[in-house]
Amino acid sequence: MSEITVTINERRLTGRPGQTILELAADNGIDIPNLCHDPRLTPTGACRLCLVEVEGQRAPVTACTFGIADGMVVRTETEEIRRLRKTVLELLFYEHRGVCTTCNEHGHCSLAKYAYEYQLDDGIFQAGRAGDRDENCMTGNEAIGYDVDKCIRCGRCIKICEEVQMDAALTFKGRAAAVEVSTFFDIPLNESTCELCGQCISTCPTGALYERKAEGKGQRKDLTRTRTTCPYCGVGCQIDLNVNTHTGEIVRVTSPVGVVPNNGNLCVKGKFAMDFVADTRRLTTPLIKRSGKFQQATWEEAIELIAGRLREIKANHGPDSIAGLSSAKCTNEDNYVFQKFIRAAVGTNNVDHCARLCHASTVAGLARAFGSGAMTNSIAEIRNAGCIFVIGSNTTEAHPVMALDIKQAVAKNRAQLLVADPREIDLARFAKLYVAQKPGTDVALINAMMNVIIAEDLHDKKFINRRTENFDALAEVVKDFTPEKAEAITTIPAEKIRQAARIYANAASASIVYSMGITQHTTGTDNVLSLANLAMLTGNIGAESTGVNPLRGQNNVQGACDLGALPNVYPGYQSVEDENIRAKFEEAWSAELPQNKGLTVIEMLHAVETGDIKALYIMGENPALSDPNLNRTRKALEAVDFLVVQDIFLSETAQYADVVLPATCFAEKNGTFTNTERRVQRVRRAVAPPGQAREDWRIISEIATQMGYPMAYDSAGEILDEIASVSPIYGGISFKRIDAVGLQWPCPDKNHPGTKFLHKDKFTRGKGKFHPVEFKDPAELTSGKYPFVLSTGRLLYQFHTGTMTRKCSAINQVSPAGFVEIHTEDAASLGIEDGQKVEVATKRGKVTTLAKVTDNIGKGWIFMPFHFQEGPANMLTIDELDPTAKIPEYKVCAAAVRKISSAD
């Protein structure tokens, strides 16, 4: 029986099996009052407000828990039901102080809404436990506050923490009237398993849980909401910036249930780390360095100086002596205009951006194997995958909202999760099998898995024959790569490698999820090719819930690549070395374009040393903290003849600049970002920019014009239309079409619905190509002097160089400083205790940081986050590059650790 007929309030409705009365009613626009319901959660029936009458039932039932049945007759608004609901509300107010006048939630509170609708007696509102304001586990927390007197004990916060976030930080404490929400032994929230995602606030039907910062900054009724895209990671969560129009300040961030791709879920950064927008340290005027000191300047002065100097350098040393770094933080429109400026106005292909440092090997590897270098499938498909193979991605920390889908897949849909990571990351607790490969040995692990799959005849021969080429060469290379051989290299027991291979190969659908643990190696492209091999070998590509899925790090790193902020391709991955394509762009841009591909990020900096690069234009990047081997990087920034930095803060890099230009941040501009699943989404202006800050594309256009290449756009929408006209994958995308929900490229024309997953019937390059890969050692191996393998990575609470996150007091409270993770036994043998000061050294430099002693990392391996300018991890990292993708090996170098004694 697939359809069920139910009569609600004399209306005949059709429902699906498994639906509740509340869900069916909501689908048909019948509003049944409720306080404990959230579509993201399993129903509880705790608030008793959704009582309805069902014919044949002795007593009223709760609509949120009662399943529909054929022929059922329901009445939701009888006099008796309304009387009961009024009593329920009155009882709730005995536990809830009606202090709407001072409540943040005023204007959006469900309880107040129903109190009005049911016209409760005024006297009831002060019945709550007035004045009972003891300290609780959230007292003093900079992110979340809890007012027990406004709590109605619906339990939604506890359930969302347990069922969606799966942190189970919260519980009901005590019983009867004394019940309140708390943590284990009432420990402060930041010491519990809480990740400060703020989901508890998002689901709270009253103002009991609230954003600490929002207190007194404007009630919900006074805030205007602007839908935009989160400026942090590549998941691209849709957020509403709630702005107080009187003060012009962002008061809070919300996200409604139902939005794509995050369904109302956010992480700590999207929810709380927006302080940077209104930070007083924002750049507000152009700055020009005169005799070593920055002085305020007018836009005219700054633009004239930049255009003049660039013209002069171009005339004296040729256009290839100038290079530009575009930005994965900026919009698609900014990136398009930037690369057009570098190519058409300056006349060089020396344009790149930080994708070089995160997923260059993805773009290179997947383009070779499949023909296009992007996440093959969509975020939502993860939920239905039979197997999810997470390798080199600490998803819960780096892509927290994506991780929710992985956890849901395991908890609700029984997906088999495989986790391979040198550290026992949080996802390992959900895994069917967790293996710890030695950093830099991924190829050995994957080759051995393929050895097992072929040896045990688990490969998909039909798929291989029909859709791929070069299989024999792969089979030849992995033939001798037995799990035993891999064990010697990776340290993973051979039997576990066999198990992993079987779990992956036997799943009905298997999805690979990876990130920088795979890409940031001198063998990064090899690693990516290996994963592509594995997917093709088992036919896990080109279908729903399968694929090879790189999680992109920055909010718009996908878009910056798509829009050609790369030295070898124009927008839409069209080669600069292809004559026909070049001719197309020369016509579109009315300029003669350079023929040779340009330099990559690290090559540019190295070319400063040789004198080949004289001028650098850096938009929204911070290489002085993010690039490897910082001593060398900073020397290059110091040495370059002319450096322009366009940013929202005076970053570490900006300190080296000759001219600094103030730009607008995401909240102050219109445009688009493209998320990791290729979805082009809107960015909307919600607040005014500080001082004289301008949109990046406007600044660039003015400089180009001043240099003699006129560029003029009225709006970001106009730029997007130009993008659509030159880049076929964006051909059908416009502001109008993505107003409500973003579109996934390829979207070649105005009627194309976008592409959910790639390579469906045919790979972009025709047939998928196996690339046999031999295992190679990392560039730097451990030695007597440097006995540890050092990897660097990210933390949940921080983003990249901390320029934005470290302006947030809630973040600083929970993540104040950097550290180095070291295994308990290694620490013991070096006499190092948890929290002690230590020195970490490599051939390139040394830094002081704090020891974090843990069993979650292998012996002989250490890990450092790279966000912190005090004790920066990148002083230590090596700038050896992957030969194809030119990505540096952030994940492996040889290091020494020593305790700092009081004598130091």
Binding site: I158, E162, A168, A169, L170, T171, F172, K173, G174, R175, S182, T183, F184, F185, S192, T193
Partner: protein
Amino acid sequence: MGSSIGAKPSSDFKPLDKILKSMPKAGKGELIPLLQAIQNAYGYLPKDILAEMSRRTGIEPSTIYGVATFYEQFYLEPHGRHTVKCCRGTACHVKGSSRIIRTLQQNLGVEPGGTTEDMEFTFETVACLGACALAPVMVVDGTYYGKMTYRKVDTVLNSYRQASKENA
């Protein structure tokens, strides 16, 4: 004379080891018996023992705390060797239990809910023990003292103090 439960230093994991060994697959469904066993062994539910129990069983710490704070039977603070409960139900009240409670307070030097400094007694009042025929009633550990009077309080308490001394 009654079971004697002394408060052990809480960082001693041996009793916990023993409990978890005897309940090898204990999970959420066995949380209440687990807590009872821990309380029996430690005299109360020490925080670090519960944290360790959570690590070893996979039961979320918050869940453990929620259950431990819900039931009257669980103590999160060190508990006296002996528990003295005095009934203040209607029958006992009529028969003079408030005087007995006052005397207990004076003798022990703590309010209801408190524990004496020497960890000898924890003093509680109960809404009704259901033994109205014996009113007024006082219970020490498992032993019922029916038809109590305030004059007998000192004698009863001293007998427990004496026993503790002899055991020591």
